[in-house]
């Protein structure tokens, strides 16, 4: 039994998981607990510590029981961890754990979108990510929802009942917001605005997949927007529109993909280091 923890500090939320992993990830992987905390202008590092403590309690273990505390995302400088993995590496491994058929991962978070081609081991083979602009990201969508007076949970459902969506700029968040203001003044319905945004985001994400030569198979959505059913639907529409034979899926635990990957890679490293007698000690 190797207990490992994964802590993913994202831009919008902290996700923590605790696992019992056999054979460095090659054997049974048992999920013991999970915690999600929206950051909401709080100190993400303090939040990560709290989320980690809560996850340990839920799993019924103590920190001393944890063989490897792995971080990912913006958690490099947490002072109680064993090791850090880059977010692309962890989303790839977490993605293949959640959906073994996945040949690619679409990690769509608060500030960027990233398409990652992976192999069956969760090894990153190629990737492309959106540029610096927040357009086409969760943060942008969250802002628009606030302007439109709806909750984030309502976005997906409303988007799916749209009947005449209008696309917005997918390059620049400022231009996109101007587009949305124009639509509101033209009395375009909220569902059509949201679907238009989803289609614009989806179009950009499908282009990323095409850029890394993902032409067929299954892609798993991870990151903060993975549970946005409207975006998922728009993605599959765009796949058809851009003649890409790829099915986009999500998983109820997709938002944990980074933390899951970190925990599993942590177990892998623990086993590898144990073999050569070079185990680091988490403080």
């Amino acid at each position: 039994m190797t207990i490992t923890a994964g802590i993913d500090v994202g831009t919008g939320a902290v996700k923590t998981v605790v696992f019992d992993v056999q054979d460095g990830g090659a054997g049974e992987i048992k999920w013991l607990s999970r915690q999600t905390e929206k950051i909401r202008q709080r100190d993400p590092h303090r939040l990560a510590r709290e989320a980690f403590d809560n996850a340990l309690e839920e799993a019924g273990v103590t920190q001393e029981d944890v063989a490897y505390i792995a971080t990912t995302g913006e958690a490099e400088s947490l002072d109680f961890t064993t090791g850090h993995f880059y977010s692309m590496t962890t989303h790839a491994r977490g993605g293949i754990y959640l959906e073994p058929r996945a040949g690619a991962i679409l990690d769509v978070g608060a500030l960027h979108g990233r398409a990652i081609i992976i192999d069956e081991r969760g090894k990153v083979l190629n990737y492309r990510m959106t540029s610096q602009c927040a357009s086409g990201s969760g943060q942008f969508l969250e802002n628009i929802a606030r302007y439109l007076g709806i909750t984030q949970e309502e976005i997906g459902g409303l988007s799916k009942v749209a009947d005449a969506p209008e696309k917005v700029s997918s390059i620049c968040a400022v231009l996109s917001e101007t587009d949305v203001i124009n639509m509101v003044s033209r009395q375009v319905s909220t569902p059509n605005i949201l679907k238009g945004i989803h289609l614009s985001m989806a179009g950009r994400l499908v282009k990323l997949l095409r850029a890394i030569k993902m032409k067929e198979g299954t892609v798993l959505m991870t990151g903060g927007l993975a549970l946005d059913t409207g975006l998922l639907a728009a993605l599959n529409e765009e796949m058809i529109g851009q003649k890409v034979s790829v099915e986009a899926l999500s998983h109820k635990d997709s938002i944990y993909a980074g933390a899951i990957g970190a925990a599993i890679w942590g177990a892998f490293r623990h086993e590898k280091l144990a073999k050569i007698g070079a185990l680091p000690l988490a403080s």
Binding site: Y68, E76, G83, H84, Y86, T89, W265, R269, L281
Partner: protein
């Protein structure tokens, strides 16, 4: 006893002070005191010390100084260190310096020495041309003559002769300083989590502005404190950083590499502190001894010619083996001809020995660390997860 945080806090104050207050204070304490500045990579600081001169390492203006005048002196395709060094000069931050040495790093620094002569006609300026021939009777003799001319120049600054005994004494002082520098580096190689590279960097930077005796004491204190402090070991990969021997990266870059999951177990920052690989003898002709040390027992960097092409890269490969490093990060300043022209040869040597590496560029005022974190982070992951050796 001071702890490492207190020592490093002091070093950081020195590092951030682009007015060189500590050196100015040293000079102001005695009207007879003189200061001679030098650029990377190597100058024989022993000669300055023997004349009672404080040698001041000038490594550009860093990321806190806005370059306005300096840009007027150089084309846009030239690196940043000469611009910010000019900026230091024209903003009077180096007005207390009695002499400047410009070692033979590259054409840009050679041109800078010419500009310095025009800008400051009353200051002793020397383009210090180190040998690129490593036969004692040829390059060695030439270098002894260079050292003699430098000694005479320094004697002109202080107005008296520098004796052989004074040089021998200074050689001993710097032998001790190098032993401590190497001890700090060895300690970091053995337990990098106890001596983070950004701390070691600041510690070595302090040696650029402090008298050598003070710097030696500082390193001794740091080692004593670092050994006794308990810091958690992380599961990081071990890498060697190459290419930063002249223009320095911002401190955040060094921190970013470590945060990304890499322990830096060797680097080429401030090579002047450990350019000579063995103690210089303290008996016999001191200039010949300094020359022989350079010719036969000095480090390797892009600014030094390697006569046999088959040997190119061996120094780095040996360092990888000696330091048990798992990879190399080539981090060179933008437009640095020596580092960037050297890189393909070094990278080729690494490829032939299956040592993984990545490359990126920076400037001393680089502010965006995300791309560097991404590259260093994925590199660390690749080594930790997919390398057979790791």
């Amino acid at each position: 006893m001071k702890n490492t945080s207190e020592i490093i806090e002091y070093c950081q104050e020195l590092y951030e002070d682009i007015d060189f207050t500590a050196t100015r204070k040293w000079k102001d304490a005695d009207p007879a005191r003189k200061v001679v500045g030098y650029m990377p990579v190597y100058v024989p600081r022993e000669l300055m010390h023997a004349g009672g001169i404080l040698s001041l390492g000038i490594l550009g203006g860093g990321d806190s100084m806005e370059v306005i005048h300096g840009d007027a002196y150089y084309q846009s395709y030239i690196c940043r260190i000469p611009r910010s060094t000019i900026e230091l000069a024209v903003t009077k931050r180096l007005d207390f310096v009695d002499g400047m040495l410009f070692p033979s790093i590259c054409d840009v620094i050679r041109n800078l020495s010419g500009m310095w002569k025009l800008l400051m006609p009353d200051v002793y300026v020397r383009y210090f041309d180190t040998p690129q021939n490593f036969i004692s009777g040829i390059g060695g003799d030439y270098y002894v003559n260079e050292l003699r001319e430098l000694k005479e120049g320094l004697e002109g600054i202080i107005g008296r002769e520098i004796t052989d005994d004074q040089i021998r004494n200074s050689i001993a002082v710097y032998n001790e300083n190098r032993r401590l520098v190497n001890a700090v580096y060895d300690f970091r190689t053995a337990e990098p989590w106890k001596a983070p590279s950004w701390e070691v960097y600041l510690l070595m930077r302090a040696g650029m502005v402090l008298p050598v005796e003070e710097h030696s004491q500082l390193m001794s204190d740091y080692l004593a404190a670092a050994v006794s402090e308990d810091k958690p070991m992380r599961d990081n990969c071990r890498i060697i950083l190459q290419g930063s021997f002249c223009e320095q990266p911002p401190l955040n870059l060094i921190k970013s590499i470590e945060l990304s999951g890499c322990y830096i177990v060797d680097d080429d920052y401030m090579l002047v502190t450990r350019w000579l690989l063995e103690d210089v003898p303290t008996d016999g002709d001191p200039l010949v001894n300094l020359s022989e040390a350079f010719i036969k027992h000095s480090g390797e960097t892009a600014a030094k010619y390697v006569p046999d092409a088959a040997d190119k890269g061996k120094f780095l490969i040996n360092a990888v083996k000696d330091k048990a490093a798992e990879g190399v990060i080539f981090a060179a300043p933008s437009f640095c001809d020596p580092a960037l022209l050297d890189r393909p040869m070094m990278a080729g040597a690494l490829s032939r020995t299956d040592i993984p590496y990545i490359s990126f560029k920076y400037a001393e005022n680089s502010g965006q660390m995300q791309p560097i974190r991404e590259q260093a982070g994925t590199f660390a992951d690749t080594i930790k997860l997919w390398s057979e050796a790791s």
